[in-house]
Symmetry: C2
Amino acid sequence: MHKYVYSFNEGSKDMRSLLGGKGANLAEMTRIGLPVPFGFTVSTEGCFSYYENGGSLSEEIMEQIREKLSELENVTGKTFGDSENPLLVSVRSGAAISMPGMMDTILNLGMNDDAMAGIAKLTDNPRFAADSFRRFIQMYGNVVMGIDSKLFEEALQSVKDEVGAKFDVDLTAEDLKEVIARYKVIARYGEEGGFPDKPVDQLMEAVKAVFRSWNTERAILYRKINRIPDSLGTAVNVQSMVFGNMGDTSGTGVAFTRSPENGENKIYGEFLVNAQGEDVVAGIRTPKPIAEMADTFPEVYKDFVNIAHVLEQHYKDMQDMEFTVENEKLYMLQTRAGKRTAASAVKVAVDMVEEGLIDKETAVSRIDPESVDQLLHPSFDAEAEKEALLLTKGIPASPGAATGQIYFTAADAADAVEQGHKALLVRLETSPEDLAGMVAAEGILTARGGKTSHAAVVARSMGKCCVSGCSELIVNEEAKTVTIGERVYHEGDFLSLNGSVGNVYEGTIKTVPPTLSGDFGTIMSWADGIRTLKVRTNADTPRDAKQAVAFGAEGIGLCRTEHMFFEDERIPAIRRMIVAETEEERRQALDALLPYQKADFVGIYEAMEDKPVTIRLLDPPLHEFLPKTDEETKLLSEQINVPYEKLLKVTADLHEFNPMLGHRGCRLAVTYPEIAEMQTRAIMEAAIHVKNEKGYDIVPEIMIPLTVIDKEMEYVKDIVVTTAEKCKAEAGSDIKYMVGTMIETPRAALTADEIAKSAEFFSFGTNDLTQMTFGFSRDDTAAIIKTYVDKGLFKDDIFATLDQDGVGKLVDMAVKLGKATRPNIKLGICGEHGGDPRSIEFCHRVGLNYVSCSPYRVPIARLAAAHAAIKNR
Amino acid sequence: MHKYVYSFNEGSKDMRSLLGGKGANLAEMTRIGLPVPFGFTVSTEGCFSYYENGGSLSEEIMEQIREKLSELENVTGKTFGDSENPLLVSVRSGAAISMPGMMDTILNLGMNDDAMAGIAKLTDNPRFAADSFRRFIQMYGNVVMGIDSKLFEEALQSVKDEVGAKFDVDLTAEDLKEVIARYKVIARYGEEGGFPDKPVDQLMEAVKAVFRSWNTERAILYRKINRIPDSLGTAVNVQSMVFGNMGDTSGTGVAFTRSPENGENKIYGEFLVNAQGEDVVAGIRTPKPIAEMADTFPEVYKDFVNIAHVLEQHYKDMQDMEFTVENEKLYMLQTRAGKRTAASAVKVAVDMVEEGLIDKETAVSRIDPESVDQLLHPSFDAEAEKEALLLTKGIPASPGAATGQIYFTAADAADAVEQGHKALLVRLETSPEDLAGMVAAEGILTARGGKTSHAAVVARSMGKCCVSGCSELIVNEEAKTVTIGERVYHEGDFLSLNGSVGNVYEGTIKTVPPTLSGDFGTIMSWADGIRTLKVRTNADTPRDAKQAVAFGAEGIGLCRTEHMFFEDERIPAIRRMIVAETEEERRQALDALLPYQKADFVGIYEAMEDKPVTIRLLDPPLHEFLPKTDEETKLLSEQINVPYEKLLKVTADLHEFNPMLGHRGCRLAVTYPEIAEMQTRAIMEAAIHVKNEKGYDIVPEIMIPLTVIDKEMEYVKDIVVTTAEKCKAEAGSDIKYMVGTMIETPRAALTADEIAKSAEFFSFGTNDLTQMTFGFSRDDTAAIIKTYVDKGLFKDDIFATLDQDGVGKLVDMAVKLGKATRPNIKLGICGEHGGDPRSIEFCHRVGLNYVSCSPYRVPIARLAAAHAAIKNR
């Protein structure tokens, strides 16, 4: 006979998968001698059996439940349905992983007319007894039998109306008995297929209801979102009731062993006298701070503090506990690891290491890397945010909080900031030309684009708050208004953005600066000691580079050169280069750009000192640099003295239907080698200059984008090497340098062995690799991806978390092929995935040397890399 | 000692790679006893040795050449540089594969003052002797020594001026000796490093010059274009001279054993009395038809006819021969397989099988699949085309010839045709809305787009001539003019297009209809007996389907449903569907479309009878169906009674930056399942209808486009199956059907094992697969691809010939993964590559079941499939 049902004294905390989290912890508390109302758990194997049996309990399981019930009656000295000393139980679901969406709790199971009489006698409180019965019928009727709650509410109201009662509490025991009578009719009490009168039948039905609740739509959705396997199943906990509502010597509460808000080592929680748990949850009465319990129940409080300490020492983690006091006796109803803010997590972990409770590795693995983001950005004052008027929600594209006056062009935003205002830049979508405005603004709000839109990527790289793809926004850039629902906001109006969740508020909200405490630094240094993956940053400016180094970046994995071209002084030169008709003209324009580029790289090298820097050659299609409007085109025509019509023709000629798959990346270097030559010269001259000036050991890593085939790589490498050698000879320098490539087309990954013959390093550009592997454009498919995730077709947003089955297969293949050709090839990732913890674990596993991410994700990546090392040890 | 030099009696035709084609055939003719002037061949191994020696002949090779020279002197009884009976030789290059671009021929090598005297005595013609010497100095000076020919021409002219000669023939022997004297100065005759006086030195230098010519730019380019490996090397043939210019008893000629134009079994060629081969080539004198030789040299002609027959029987192929008659004695100088038109190739192959000369397999493998295209389209009268004014060249996008009046909109072209004109449609680029005009026009000319542009793909599918991407065109659609260079053409002006080569001519040119002779049918039926790959067609209309069946298609591999939507009657309904705001509205619009779609499919099924038909669900992004101009939008607004502003908003909302990677393919079915439902219903109802009416055994193959992940395939399949089962139930039909998918994203290929769990067939959409694997958009990268091919970075246009190393790796992977999951999975290809012979060979090799191509490429594919079967046996 298989064992499906376990008494609380038969289990332990290590039996989570069998007993569920709640059941295992009840057993554990029982095992270590804490006061837990006795009971038993129907295991998750019971759940499997239930589904295998087509949704019914086998005789075997029912028999075991009956046995355990007898044991429970013996232990408690109470009897199910007894009119003298009736046993009442709670029935709670409990999976291995805590999961809202399943049936939560049925209290007072075992109630019927006899039991009600017994309780009335025992408590000398017939009203309490009747009210308990009434609540039980309603709860069970709704949760187990699926009866619409409204029917019960209407019956209750009708009695209240008849007796002239305003509130529930105005009803007498007799009134409540009338309610019970009417409830019984609704629930077809005692009828075949109706509400069972026999407590044991009630129990069996309740157990089945818990099992059923495992597969409600909400539960399934929750599991899908949280990647919990459907195969876990849930257990059912049956526990004898204790009553916190038996008068002023009783009560109930929830508490944490330490503060879940800031980690302070002090019991944190609330309690209510003469109440059951559900009263706390329902918010009918305001609970009191737990410390006040010391006055109310001094002995019980002492017990509780002691138990809290025992539990924390036992579990070696901060605990979240539920308890009930019945007639001054303390009962523990639940304990589990407490959820906490990032700040709390960091302090608790560091404190516990200092207390000798856990080791550093455990401390590090307790910090959710993603949560650390909270510590790096300003946030709204929680109270103030609650009170603010939420206008709409967009995509939380870059975390943090920002309050400011809205402006609709980059120039207006920049001007406003210059005049001392705080600005929010509101755009349909941003483009590289908006950069100055984005730098100036406190935050960015766009109507279009997902987490990897231009606005999102740039904002994250600057650690600036951004809400993108806010589809309810109607932005009128000409009228300088934005309409949200019925409300219209004009230039200069105040809005507030919460980029961590995507909320858009009206008016101003108080912000709180980030708190990078010493404990945070301690955790990060421990993480650094554990991880083997290096963490670099994607940075295009000395400012970003410095910020990233401050966050612990060990190099630059991707320095894009194109953003540099958009600055006011340079854009005419780059445009002159684009409209050049001969190589000669193009070279002249490039010569004008060279000093700027060189200065850019000097700044970067100075910021990074000895750390490695990978600089990517020009990547975007040239039309991105051309003016978009007629006005701008006319202006440019004057600026660079090229006829307007010719500019129009160049623009038309450069037009592409699918620029993502067009004339960009190293294709530019193939068609215009002189661009690659200028950039190589700028890189080498800058590196030689800083090396000579400062004595840093600089080894430039020159990266060729969008390679598809070995011969192309050889061709462009040849241009780079020829130029670099010239620079070395001219400067009499023996500086070393490396030439490598992005692996960002499927073909490059598939033929990485050939490409590695000339490429000295690979950097996986998983943004483009994902776009091409899936045929999903980042700019166009945010809504489709959302639909796919919602329908369960995608596990994740493919641009946020690396698709390991498809894109990852290509990465893995490229790693193996690349190493086969060049065993010491340097391997990194510089797509957005480089800052995503789950993707980082994948990078660790396939054997990359480093990940590179935006500066503000560097700490997250460091932690995630440590987690990966621990997990894959 | 390694043997580098072979006498003509030491080799045979099987030694091509060692002796080159020319040398092997000279040896073969010698071996079978034909009259060949004796000589020897320096092998291709001599060529490798030359390059290994840094561009010089090893002593070993030189020694062997000297030995063979002695032998030649013995055999001929002549001596190098002898003043009585001098030996003169020709030196010719000859690689294993015939290759223009290399050094061709040096005649009369061995000439010096003594030899000239000897020749003068022997021929009793001092002028001939002097002229031969003069010509030799000039040819050798130019070809071997690299002296500019102009210098020689000037010297010649100066002597002519001095003696008052108008033509070369006016120069006397003495005059020519003066020329020789001046030539000697130019060539530094007899000096150190100058022109060698000693014949054996001349010979050594000439051999080296031939080896050098293997690596001239032109030769390298030719090899690249024709995919000839650089490693083959060339041989050098040294042959004793015979003279066709020794008076009226001598002559020279070239001839084919059968007609290279039409295959007629009759000697075809030309000859000249008293002439050397170069005179024929130079075109100074007009040669006579070979038949007239029967009168001039009756005996020699009889010999020649006999030898031609011997050669053809021996080589079992039509021969292209060169010969010389010296004093009524016939000498064979060369034989090789004759180049021929497709028509000739077909007739020769079929005749030779009937003559018992070759077997059917050989006959089939003699026909170049690509050449068959010539037989399927009208062409220009060759003479008329030569005389026409060539205006410009574009991309030869769809073969054939067309003459007509130009029109600039689809409507104008259609109107003109209705009024009895022949129209050419001239557009900047075409879009699906131009379909009616394309159908009506004789040919299509566009300024933009490559071989896989819309214009090209559609034109090919209709067998209609198209020249695309003609960048010199300035099309002004409003003014209805097209400017080419200085010339402006207006609506109604006549132009002519040669879509096989991309030429655009002014005015009309006479066209010749295609000649599908009975022999062609015979060859095709033999090919069908050999091939194992099935050949299907891509066809969207009953008309195309019938055309393809006439060409031998065995089914439809890709029936696109989107083109059907563009017809005038339907487009309002599809637009109404697109702007629908609710599923309800959308369903109403779809209901209106259903009868049309069903009728489409009924037509297709009726045309295809029992043959399999794969129908793809809607693929393109919906914005393709929306109006492009303001005017059209306003019109639509009235047509479907939807406010203009709303239409603008829908258009803006549907805008995509990269539509190729956007909301298309089965993503449409995921977001709008009702579209897939309507299409499935149309397919099933049509199939059931035709099956019931005609009794054909129809098994619809419903194809889901652009799948990326297994769950998506399951999701859409579920929609299809649910609908299909409903249709079956409604009609009481037990019809079978299959649901499969395009494999056209890299991810689908990478995870084909998962996708095959629900997909019953795969069709490789290698157009999109190539686009995504490379990150090259077909619409945008024609110019880049050309640059890549020109620079040798790509072997081929990746959209014309499948990239086997990258895209092919994915295909191969998907085939293996798919079969692992579903061993009997049906596998085909429906990208443009399905009609490309080399790609077809790949498809055969990786184990696909069929290829599918446009109707006009079906015969090509059938032949190519037979070739693949033969080659991979």
